[in-house]
Subunit: 380 residues, 4 copies
């Protein structure tokens, strides 16, 4: 099972990078985004550092100067190249990074037949970690392309038009619900411990807010009415001159993986910040669901676009579940240390690898983030 | 009742400002802090704008140019003088601000006997609002004095030594508890609606962490060990060179309202950021309580230093309670629009006006704030 | 002679501060400006540190904690309070600073009868230094008042209307001229050594550019035409949204020492940056004079408004004259270390103390400075 | 003659880029530096826009979307891609830029036989412009490589050791000298008009300051002694933690085009800012020459390392010569609009294309620039 997951995951990363030139793969358009080449190397470093070095006897680092280049944020794993400078690494070349991947893949193939349960667990973690970076690879290259006046398309084929499902309010009776992961399958540490939460009765939208609906908000002056906005959001929107979603062009087109395209009014609106999501909800006379409401409702009949279009901002700040303890060692830096100042998103997006997300999955970003596949599902 | 509250509140503000020279009263040491003179005027503007203008017939503004100077952040009440420039208002003078207060007090005295229930409600709100600013007046002048190499004392009398109560772990059985305000007395909108929350069994410390205990953390290298810190906190601590609490001087003394004094190891540690509070808790093998745990536990026998020493950071982000709706009109901007990016503090401090806080009271500040009377109570 | 100069200079500083409240005197509206109280104390510190401490036997510092508060930038005289935080010094109070001045004045009176030539030279330097700060006191309080929406007037009497002299082009034949100070009177070190400079024939305007002339430039689109501007100036003007001189109000009035007044089209335009001065000259088909041309021409018949209205930006960067050597010791930090990145202004302004300036006088400011009494005299 | 110059210049740019991968060619390590690919395209845009479009009938733009990408700073030639984002242009690719060059080269070959004198003049200007960018291509890629912890070498061959010429003081008698370009050959507009300058007698060093000499300055505490520094320089050095030249590594090696190499104590010190150059001169009991002294002295017998090692900071701010007028049209934006806030460098460097510099050549950079081949020649 890890065999197949590992092989498929490793192959998929290269497939995602295939449409990119070596020049594309080096782009870093802001400190929060990373080059595609860096994603390919960092996910490889993760296996090398956390799996091969400790568990494969006589493993030799591919290049002992590289770990500092490709460590993301693990304080316990040594010094790191400054994040905003990842785009300055023309060396190693993309070809060298591909060789690095092959070297590590070969070593993992050697290890797998003899791997301990602990090692196998880390390999599985490495796969899910790499899947996360697969989505980031897409979000980050999309942002980089959005900074090029030529507006290159990651995928030059025309997008399929969307047919928005009917919008209905699904009712949930509230009560004590079980929240968080339990059972045999893989989950990240931040999805547990599973615990009980008491929620009040609520209604939740059957689908995501569409571009057409959001365009009505824009046209009605939503970006000029401070009373719709959270204070921090309004201040940021003023300082940066927000007038519409980040990837909506002045000429009415919308930028995305297929390049600049005419707006599809039925498609879910995306690349929204939490602030915009909240302002829209306020304007619409509704609110965002909490992450607990979302998790409780996502199995309701009629709950559409759960995880295949856009992540859904929730009204929940990203905090530890009762009894949460980070894992010991470097892996413990994975999720816990980010548990302040961010909001939880639930669901999954069109850029999320198949099989990656779960109903208990907790994605998280700062409320100002505008470059993710992030949209809105209303509640009330 | 509002009569007495109003008179006492208005008088207390002036008493708090009495030790300050006109020059002191104008100090603004950072954008987040305001001059004492501004606090005195802003709280007066609140009554003038929200009570006198709409409810007292023929009321004339004291000076029609002043509302824009003393509006804090109410978008619906017109333009505002930029917050970071409040310290540049040498005019109006302190004497003029005192005259403004007298003018408004007289008008309020005229209104009170004939005030409608609605107006009386707003007067009561204005009193509680002014009490909040009384604490801010102290926190802000303390920060300003901390920037003066002469380290002036707000109160030159020597402080009384503290005797720390014994530290014990109080047990709470968990279960479904009622959270939030209900009943007849005053409360802010963010304290409701009262609702049920399910909490797990937990233990909470009977008192606050002391300076002596925190000094052990500092001496053991707590400010040099990244694994104890949240990621944002570590980044900020590095960028700003944190080595100890903001008001702990290099020579071992601690700065406070009584000036620079020898450290009282039994006194609660204060002026901590949320980041420092979390790092300490991690080091101590404990954690911060949630705001629900705090509220559920604060009535337990042995729960000391609840509201008379320092506000207590909780692990809860500041979010709306289920069913929360901001009030209509300007008053609705009071609390709701700040509900992201901040952490809840519970309790009260030595600078909180007597009678101001409640067990349901929700104070909130960004996690980086280091100039409030904010300390730590542990849970586990 | 130093006696009278000293007495008059010290008295004049207090006279200039007389219209200011203690609150006014503490205002610091930007890092480059200082509070009036600080100017009064710093000029006193200069005498205490450079004259009394070394030359008056048994002199005792007024307060040994103060030198670090009032040292401006002398690296060789110990640590300094950070410049942007001068406005945070509510203590010492204005009354204490007055007492400081009296203390130092008394000690100087003791010293004068017995002062060595060296000490007398330093006293003379201290007087000229204080005169410089007298002008800065006015420029700085004017800037601070300009930040207050109430636009307070330093001098509430109405200004006298100006009658602009006729504008003529004065001819200078060029040739080898002597530049720089020589002879018996006082001059700053940067005015020497006197040396020969070869200049080409040129013409210079007989008077300064008026507000009316500059208003034509503004109305003709001068602030929207990049080709008129130096590159750095255009970038700054765009970044900060310049549309007119800094003290020209949107409603057409002009802010100055007499408060906001109707524009006097005959009065010289002031508070211009070097960038604005250059753009205007380009628009007018002329240029700025070099500092050498200015010095050579200022004695020509018909050369009006030489030193009584506004300092005049020159096209000369502030550089050392051939053979310039800073004086040894702390005094050597006075002028030489600023000789890069600034432009020379010549003449004098309505805020310059009588007798302070000379034809060889070299004032200097960064090209972006917009809060000095600085205007334009054209050349071609 | 333009034929050969054009062919040789265009070919040399490609030769300089030959050692770079497509990834290297896209690096932009700071806003002031540009990618090699951008240099190759911008110099081509210059010919396309200023020569081919106006002078070659029926010329069609290679791609009409590109001019905005490759216009550097010409306000009169339309909107420009933001300078700090040049490194985000993965498209057009390096291959496309090579095709662009070939397209323009072919069109220039068509034009040359029939070009008017005006067009030929602009072609010559384009060649000298491209030569400037050839040096920038090297300085910029060197800076980019310096940001990569792997410290790649542009040229992996080992450097030849230097033998420093003997240091002597060359005497110049002063007097009236002719400064600036005159005569038939090419020169930039800022080198004229030729005019007379009066200089005093002086001495100038026969060679540049060596790494060994500069190392003595560093070791003697030169970076810790504020009195050696100009005020702006000291502030910057403190803020950025300067302890040695920018390309001197902590381990004693020096980074350059040949990668990190042991320090060659006889080689001229380079990549100095003006501030460091001045501080060194002060420490050495000397000063920097003015640009006039340099030009007057550069023909003296024994004047070594004039233009083949490092540009030489002068004490002259970059200002217009008497009578300087920018050319009409876009070309007039070439030099004149930068004439403030910069210092003149004279000579030439090992990265300057052969034949590019002249004794009258005026290079200029802000005093803080630390990534040019810029060194020190002393005067006194």
């Amino acid at each position: 099972m890890p065999n197949d997951l590992l092989r498929a995951t490793r192959a998929r990363s290269l497939q995602l990078a295939a449409p990119l030139s070596d020049e594309d793969a080096q782009l870093q358009s802001m400190p929060d985004a990373s080059p595609a080449k860096w994603h390919l190397a960092h996910t490889t470093w993760f296996f090398e550092t956390l799996v091969l070095a400790p568990y494969l006897p006589d493993y030799r680092l591919f290049d002992e100067r590289w770990p500092r280049l490709f460590n993301s944020y693990y304080e316990s794993l040594g010094p790191r190249h400054a994040r905003p400078q990842r785009g300055l690494l023309s060396r190693p070349s993309m070809a060298e990074v591909r060789a690095y991947r092959a070297h590590v893949d070969a070593a993992l193939a050697d290890l797998l037949p003899v791997a301990s349960a602990e090692a196998r667990g880390l390999i599985e973690l490495g796969c899910h970690h790499e899947q996360q970076h697969q989505e980031l690879l897409l979000t980050d290259i999309l942002h980089a392309f959005s900074c090029n006046p030529l507006l290159p398309a990651y995928d030059a084929t025309p997008p399929a038009p969307t047919q928005a499902p009917a919008q209905e309010w699904l009712e949930h009776p509230g009560g004590i619900v079980d929240i968080g992961h339990a059972g045999a399958g893989f989950a990240f540490d931040n999805e547990g411990p599973r615990h009980r939460v008491l929620i009040e009765p609520f209604e939740i939208a059957s689908r995501l807010v569409t571009c057409g609906e959001y365009a009505d908000f824009v046209e009605s002056g939503g970006y000029r009415e401070p009373l719709l906005w959270l204070s921090d959001g309004w201040a940021l929107a003023q300082a940066q001159g927000w007038q519409r979603p980040a990837y909506w062009l002045e000429d009415g087109r919308v930028f995305g993986l297929h390049g600049a395209q005419a707006m599809d009014r039925d498609a879910p609106v995306m690349q929204l910040s939490f602030y915009e999501a909240c302002a829209y909800a306020e304007w619409a006379g509704a609110r965002l669901p909490t992450e607990f409401e979302w998790e409780a409702a996502c199995g309701l009949p009629g709950f559409a676009q759960a995880a295949d279009q856009a992540w859904q901002w929730t009204r929940s700040a990203y905090s530890p579940y009762p009894g949460f303890k980070p894992a010991p060692g470097a892996v413990g830096e994975y999720n816990g240390k980010f548990m302040v100042g961010q909001q939880v998103l639930r669901g999954g997006s069109l850029a999320t690898p198949p099989g990656h997300a779960r109903p208990t999955y907790r994605n998280f970003f700062p409320p100002a983030a505008r470059w993710q596949f992030s949209g809105v599902r209303l509640a009330r």
